[in-house]
Amino acid sequence: MAVVIRREGAGPLSLRGRRSSRSFWPWFLQRVTGVVLVVLMFVHIAVNHFGNLSKDLTKGGPRGGDLIRFQDVAYRLDHVAITWLWWIVDVSLLAFVLFHGFNGIRNIAIDMGITGRAERVVTGFLTLVGLVGLVFGVMALLAFRKYAP
């Protein structure tokens, strides 16, 4: 179907240097990660603060308060339920929350009117920080396996 579009008058100023469909996926993924995070966040808090799944279940004896210890986390990652599921949950949580948070900051920047080259610089910087956070977080998780008793 041949469509003839006639645009009158001055060219649409909104397309001036901003025309891009790159804006759909950040918007869409912000929602997807947000909804998934509601679930993952709930699991994360429940496990660490209420479910006591992190506590060392093999040792009896007194414990110093309800503080989570290194051993508790290492135990959960290695012994509780389907262990590789914990890895998926924890790494997903990390990746999604970093994306969601830094994409949010990026949104604030774009709302402030940052466009063109400056916008690409800001996006690049935030992506870099996010990736550094992801690598660091995974290393932190691996440390529980590395130093496990």
Binding site: L37, M41, G65, R69, A140, A143
Partner: protein, 131 residues
Amino acid sequence: MASIARRRPPSVPGTHFRPGAIETGTVAFIFHRITGVFLTIYLMTHLVVIGQSVRSKEAFNAALHFVGQPVFVFLDAGLAGIVTYHALNGLRIVGFDLGWGIRRQKLLFWIAVVLAVAVFLASLIAAHELL
């Protein structure tokens, strides 16, 4: 009318958020942004704390011991309320994006606020019990 063409005339000053006419939707948006920025900053501190595991078992336990102090536990209660508001308002927004609840937007906002306050108070009580 050369003077108008050459000089860019001013807009009304202080226009971003009209001081005398803030509506429910505006407040929801402002809170969402503020809680979002706060949570991103918190996230970075959280990574630093938990990331102590990279150094050693003792470093991790020491870090958790440090943030186990009463002041931090109470701050955690505030965090719980903030996360709840951001999550529930976020779901409110996703609802709009799916076409739900647009005409009930104010009610949904208040539900988010009430539940966030409830979670905050419950967490305060839990913190008090713990300490």
